[in-house]
Symmetry: C2
Subunit: 150 residues, 2 copies
DNA sequence: GTTATACCCGACTCTTTTAGTCAAGTTTAA
DNA sequence: TTAAACTTGACTAAAAGAGTCGGGTATAAC
């Protein structure tokens, strides 16, 4: 199980964009240089980000990309799904090819709980949080404490 | 990002084993039938589970596999790492090929927090819990409540 | 109106990982 | 002796991921 570059690059680029928000349209080549991501690959990613209304483009010289939404309203989850980086923890379908040939397998609840666990994290954190480099570890400790009480 | 069959199959097989614990050695072919996993593939997985001391084998007729540890002491994390299903959320290295050419990228803390978040879940849940089909969703709600207060 | 900048788009290739198979063993109870 | 069942290494095919390439189009500046 591995987080792919696609998702990580997309988030890095969006954070970069957020940090330079007040400088007008930001070119992909500048992001490319700062984030060590190839220009062609960025173009691919930004196509999807634009189609999902996370960024706006300005064409022509002096053009570039702008955030279409405030950083505090863009979650990691938004970005990840925009570039098709979905979190799949189950393979369960209702047909014959599904997790247990139609019926629920004994581990179904486990995997869907894991899926929700991850989903919640990604939906909670915004790129504003990342820009502020919010201390995620403190948040996590609170989670662990709660879980341990169960 | 996707949980692969390897990890899911291994957990299913271990849960199956736990549920038939008191019946003596369990053959892979019986697990194969119950869990819809090919025998050859199971053999591959159980080699790793044995090498990691999670199961014991009994050879010859009447043989099979036994849990080497109590179900309450086997976490999902143990099983996953035994079959090399690791959770990689970062690509960070300290060399030139790392996340930001030596220095820390702006999203490093985000991804390592995600990694810890998942790790904690997998280390908390045991196969005993899965056998009992513990209500994971209630647990998760408590987590969400805690996080929302932040 | 020409030019250069920078976004736009589809198709393609290369590599790695995963899933699953196969063909041999070896051990041991009956 | 036989058959059940584990043991092992190697192999193949399919899928996904990472990244490239070669063209486009819009538009500001001159």
């Amino acid at each position: 199980m591995q987080l792919t570059s696609r998702g990580r690059y997309a988030v890095s680029a969006m954070v970069d964009l957020a940090k330079h928000q007040n400088e007008g349209p930001i070119t992909l080549s500048s992001i490319s240089e700062r984030q060590f991501i190839s220009l062609s690959y960025l173009e691919q990613l930004f196509r999807k980000l634009r189609e999902n209304n996370l960024v706006e483009s300005v064409r022509g010289p002096g053009g570039g990309y702008l955030l279409a939404v405030e950083p505090k309203d863009i979650t990691i989850s938004h970005i990840m799904s925009a570039v098709n980086e979905t979190i799949q923890t189950t393979m369960c379908k209702t047909d014959e090819t599904g997790c247990h040939r139609g019926s629920r397998c004994g581990t179904h609840n486990l995997w869907s709980a894991l899926g929700l666990h991850i989903k919640f994290f990604l939906e909670t954190v915004t790129i504003q949080n990342v820009c502020d480099d919010k201390d995620f570890l403190n948040t996590l400790k609170a989670v662990e404490k709660t879980l341990s009480k169960q």
